[in-house]
Chain length 244, copies 2
DNA sequence: TCAAAAGTGTTAATTCTACACCCATGT
DNA sequence: ACATGGGTGTAGAATTAACACTTTTGA
């Protein structure tokens, strides 16, 4: 086999077929927030290996699509959500023995969606369900392959991004009250935040939120809150730091 | 082709050969600091496509090695550095047309090494050279494939990590003075830092630095500084924030 | 009118920043 | 001794955290 890189330094000869073939998949860790708190979308495997275990939704990258497109397609197939959702690559996982059948490199993505319409597999998935993140972390949910490791990395990614990106708004609908947004931070970080200070901090970040005219109606007792929309900022500067 | 994922939901049948074959490479963006400031290691391509262009060092992932191992191997082949260097995955790049010859997914790594012994290719590379980062960013260096995009992402990664990880110490040798460490931040961020405040900030981060007995001898005029070693901390908490 | 949540104000503690100043060393 | 960089001190500014207080609504 040629030692030479496809993208690296020069070598004497090049044989377009002299490379070890890999399967490449795109897996997506989909997070959302429900009454139960932070939840993730998992699918139950119907066959070996790991039959009966749960796995992140995903599938082969097609020959003509990019990695991002593959992830977006998988997300849509599983959730029906086309665009607008937060979708970002985490990283690739490729231990030689991560799939006992063949050499598979999986490129993992993190997706954040507002309250999922319903946990129904897009058509072919055996069973897709929203599972509380705490249940996965506690080990009560058996995950296939190295998906436990991936899941942990994905969750850590979301927790970190909450400080520096507007990712938190992706958990909410088109418009949302500050209390709803605060609930996202509290659910993901697992700690309570002072409503007054939260308001000032979050409104003080330029481009993070955009004011709207509306107010929340439905919510019962207490004064309704103003509604906000996601702003144009791509990065939170200054970041919304978690308590230190 | 099976729609089914190797790691995803269940399907009726499984054919171990029904997946589109990809080539998978590991590319490494190697950064170091020299008298000229921040520099990166690039290799010159000797053949098409992109003959005469520069590229990140890299090569095929072997069937039996992990992605991390492949990156570490490439790093060693190009720099002679075995361990101890900072090496972390950035992310995968896999646009369908990024290599005109075939479908290649490259898993990119960022490496940070202390002053490179000498820019000699580990044996087979046509020409490996340290190139000032500013020259690459200015577009005066032609990069092959999508390596310009990768390079930019890698540099941004280093700049960001400087705040939250002890990556800055990887630019220095085994022991280093605070001035040497500060020079790293100044080179990567391109802004001057107050020596007094830098000292307090950096020494105030638990586990970041470890005091040693020695002092810098060689440096000429001025009082020699104490030498420090990298501490055990994996994350900088509180982070060393860049000026806002 | 009472409870609950939205929203504003205030203050003490903490952290930054800028810069003055002393210390140690090579020339 | 003097120039240069290491290292400490410190005062004002800016930020933060905690919580009191007022406003608006549903019940």
């Amino acid at each position: 086999m040629a030692k030479e890189s496809a993208g690296g330094a020069a070598s004497a000869e090049y044989d377009p077929h002299a490379f070890p073939p890999f399967a490449v998949t795109a897996d997506v860790a989909v997070f959302t927030q429900t009454r139960q708190g932070l939840e993730a979308l998992l699918v139950e495997r119907g066959e070996d290996p790991f039959a009966g275990c749960w796995a992140l939704p995903g599938g082969f990258v097609k020959p003509e699509e990019s990695l991002d497109e593959a992830a977006a397609r998988e997300l849509e197939e599983e959730t029906g959500i086309r665009g607008g959702a937060y979708l970002e690559q985490l990283r690739a996982f490729g231990a030689p023995d991560r799939d006992p059948r063949m050499r598979v490199v999986t490129v993992c993505y993190v997706a954040v969606v507002p309250r999922l319409p319903k946990p129904e597999g897009g058509g072919d998935a055996a069973r897709a369900e929203l599972v509380p993140v705490s249940r996965v972390l506690s080990g009560r949910v058996k995950l296939a392959f190295d998906h436990r490791e991936i899941f942990r990395a994905a969750l850590e990614h979301v927790r970190t991004r909450l400080e520096y990106s507007p990712i938190a708004t992706a958990f909410c609908g088109d418009v949302f009250s500050l209390t709803e947004l605060r609930a996202v931070y509290e659910a993901v970080w697992g700690e309570e935040l002072d409503p007054a200070n939260f308001r000032r901090k979050v409104l003080g970040i330029p481009g993070f939120l955009e004011e709207t005219e509306g107010t929340r109606q439905w919510q019962g007792r207490g004064r309704p809150g103003k509604l906000y929309r996601k702003g144009k900022a791509q990065r939170l500067d200054p970041p919304f730091r978690r308590a230190g």
